[in-house]
Amino acid sequence: MSEMNQDEFDQELARMLPRVDAPQGFAAKVMAAAEAPKKAKVIAFPHIRTWATGAIAAGVIVGALAVGDVHIRHEQQRAEAQRQFDAATQITDRAMEHARQQLAKAGISLEE
């Protein structure tokens, strides 16, 4: 086994790690991919397409649920407001009737 220092090893390594040729037709393949329509690129990466489709579907479902939820909440608020309005109207009618009876007892008629 002959002696070899680090520098010699470095030099040998540089000699043994030359650049290698790209695959046959590499440039043409890249050119074709670069000039292909966008759709072809999506097909070339099916995992991305699957992921994107899933994300869009999830977005649509979440959106639909959110819209449905907002609609239900609006309906509930409207029904509650109607109920409160009806209660207030009944209370006011009773109060008015009571006042009218008190005035009648005192001999005062509102019709006059």
Binding site: M1, S2, L13, M16, A34
Partner: protein, 175 residues
């Protein structure tokens, strides 16, 4: 369409032909797989096609191509969760120090490529850029965004590891 993207087809083809060996070789030695290296190299040039208008000079283009190739190659390794390197620390133990140093033989070249693939990723990248691309440590540091001392350490440890592995696994080639 090319004009829209900032580069003419002829110019782009010229750049591919000029740099394809560099890009493919870096990708191949970092990923360790021919098919993966081809995919990485193709992605690199497609990104160049889309963003070439941001590159200011031939040197900048070369720097950009090397950096993007290293990044895409390492991303590719991580996506596939492939860690081709063996347990490096074991090889760094003193018991693997050869009696003399290793004299490389021409017959070792293919085996050396195999050994290179077993280096931990940061060491492998540093060794490839230093010895294939003949870049200086400070150039590698700038390319990788690392301190020069880190790059030198990766180089030193990478070479040490290669020598030890070569001495142990390639005895038949050692003179």
């Amino acid at each position: 369409m090319s004009a829209q993207m900032g580069m003419e087809s002829i110019e782009f083809r010229g750049l591919i032909e000029q740099h394809q060996r560099m890009v493919f070789s870096i990708a191949l030695r970092v990923t360790g797989e021919y098919g993966v290296a081809e995919e990485v190299a193709q992605d690199v040039f497609l990104e160049l096609y889309r963003g070439a208008d941001k590159l200011e000079s031939p040197d900048h283009t070369k720097f950009w191509l090397r950096r993007v190739t290293v990044n895409k190659a390492t991303d590719s390794l991580r996506r596939k969760s492939r860690r081709p390197e063996a347990v490096a620390e074991e090889w760094m133990e003193e018991k693997f120090v050869p009696d003399g140093a290793t004299k490389l033989d021409p017959g070792m070249e293919a085996r050396l490529e195999d050994l290179l693939r077993t280096l931990p990723e940061p060491m492998r990248i540093a060794v490839v850029l230093r010895h294939q691309e003949e870049m200086l440590p400070d150039e590698i540091a700038a390319l990788l965004g690392q301190p020069v001392a880190t790059v030198k350490s990766h180089l030193q440890r990478g070479l040490q590891l290669l020598r030890r592995k070569a001495a142990v696994t390639m005895k038949e080639y050692v003179r």
